[in-house]
Amino acid sequence: MTRASVLAGPCVVIVATALLGSVVSSATGVYFITALVSVSIVVALYVFIGNSGVVSFGHISFVALGVWTAGVLTVPRSEKAAIMPGLAGFLQRTTVGNVPSLFLAALVGGIAAVVVGLPLMRLSGLAAGIATFAVLEITNNLLRYYDKIGPGLNNFSSVPETTGIWQAGVGALAAIVAAYLYARSRFGRLLRATREDPASAAAAGVSMYRQRLVAFGLSGAIAGFAGGLYVHLLPLNSEDVFLDLTFITLAMLVIGGTTSLWGAVVGALAVSALDSFLAEAENGIKILGGTIDLPSGTRVIAEGALMALVLIFRPGGLTNGREFVLRWRRK
């Protein structure tokens, strides 16, 4: 029962969020959809960072590749020349539907993560942080200027906006189930062993490198998939999948609690809720008779401060890194 709740808890919360999002007005509904897409991205981060204990600043690269894959392949052929004049011939001619584009985005994200991970997974700690950051910079630099594979500096306009509340919810559930199955599998357990005690794990014959590579590949695939969801939500450009998104998604994971799936989901939803509230407040809202009108930019200040405070006072995050369990088992 308690084990099942580790998966059921996050899923129930996602379904509830999706149901709530489908009954509110469409303007408010966008906040719910964005929150659910954030859940997918943060779950991707959790699969690697949570299980391995290695910080990666590079995962938004794989989100960006997912955005590019799904975006380029679903822009209607008649519009391609207008927004992507430099596009290579076969991409010019190929157009796929919504669902295949999401799978291809996951595939590209996963392959890219394995290719990047092959050399990079030897690194730990600070070196891994800097190297993955370098990956983010390279990806952004290439996507921004190499217009044979995408719109370069342009927006991904006229991508079909298929990510409604339904697609976002199912996508988040898929990401959560994949992360849960991985964490329960032999691979997930071995990777967490290397996180807890590298020396003992190595003595027991566990290859930290191989286990990290598996997690990196899987989380890259989930990140690519989330990127596909994201580009079907709104017209993105290369700046939208760069430093700011890296910051906000890492903040979500840290605030929720890095080492648990529950933490990833709670962090993503809690920060999204705060973000949506503050975004409304920046436009001015009426609450309890008074009007709140915050200057724009307040929300990132609030999130940055929250992230710093959580790191200083509660390093385990809101969930203290624990999974969702119904019964109190220990102590």
Partner: protein
């Protein structure tokens, strides 16, 4: 290859040297704090940005230039002190990666405070603009700021060398970056030596703010953000733990960017960041235990 060097004129060369010098100072600022704290201060660029906004405000209020510079130093040093007291000190016992994430958060926090305060269009700092005029040396026009930047870099490096080798607090700092625990056992006061390193690093950030603002008077909230990222890369290339390699790393990456960025046509120089960061990854891989990890710590496992 020869054709490439023919396209490099003296101004480009002087600019590249100046950029290298500025990046070298930033590299030392980051390296000093890393030495005593094992902390990569991602928010270093935002210290520079705060100093630059101080200069911009000074020129908006028509303050004399020296007073603006004093304000710049005061703001950056105060911010450094607050960072040390309220962020670095509580986080000191956490792992380096957690501290990196924390300074990442602080960086975004400061950047967005600047955005709310000053707007994303930024402000213009004009008081130092005369330094941007060219100087004719041996019939070659070179901007004054390039010369000033090179000179200031050399003076700062010399002062720092004196500080680190001839004063007791410098000795403490070097001892702490070698082995913090043993240094503490021998009577080095941890809080004092860390605060001192953070403040020196802040003073360097203020110097960098003055010079970058002169070169580029438009101060925006993301001022010096890309510079910091590039300097971090350079510091990794050089070796973060040792002051001289870190400085050289910062200098060479600035020099390379200045030279290549000035000489290459745009359709090639736009991919420069990719090559630089690929080089960073390569260096990290060739030295797998990292230029970051203390050898003693790596050997223990």
């Amino acid at each position: 290859m020869i054709a490439f060097f023919l396209t490099v004129d003296w101004q480009t060369l002087a600019d590249a040297l100046a950029l290298g010098g500025i990046y070298a100072l930033m590299a030392i600022g980051i390296g000093l704090v890393f030495g005593v704290l094992r902390l990569v201060n991602f928010a270093y660029g935002q210290l520079v940005m705060a100093g630059a906004f101080a200069l911009a405000l000074g020129s908006q209020w028509n303050w004399p230039t020296w007073l603006s510079i004093v304000l710049c130093f005061a703001v950056v040093l105060a911010l450094s002190f607050l960072l040390d007291r309220f962020v670095f000190r509580p986080l000191r016992t956490q792992s380096p990666a957690v501290m990196l994430v924390a300074t990442f958060a602080v960086a975004f926090l400061l950047q967005n405070i600047a955005q709310v305060w000053f707007g994303s269009l930024g402000k213009i700092a004009t008081s130092l603009a005369p330094l941007n005029q060219p100087w004719a040396i041996f019939g070659v026009d070179i901007r004054k700021i390039s010369i000033v930047a090179i000179a200031v870099t050399i003076v700062c490096l010399a002062l720092l060398q004196l500080l680190l080798t001839r004063t007791s607090v410098g000795l403490h700092m070097r001892a702490a970056s070698q082995d913090f625990e043993t240094a503490r056992l021998l009577g080095v006061k941890a809080n004092r030596v860390i605060a001192f390193a953070v403040l020196i690093s802040g003073a360097l950030a203020a110097v960098v703010a003055v010079m970058l603002t002169t070169q580029n008077p438009l101060v925006t909230p993301d001022f010096a953000l890309q510079d910091t990222i590039v300097v971090l890369a350079g510091v990794v290339l050089g070796g973060l733990n040792r002051p001289i390699p870190a400085t050289l790393g910062g200098f060479s990456i600035g020099f390379a960017i200045g030279l290549l960025g000035g000489a290459l046509p745009t359709n090639q120089s736009q991919y420069l960041p990719s090559f630089i960061f690929a080089a960073v990854i390569l260096v990290l891989l060739v030295r797998p235990d990292g230029l970051f990890v203390r050898r003693s710590a790596a050997a223990r496992l």
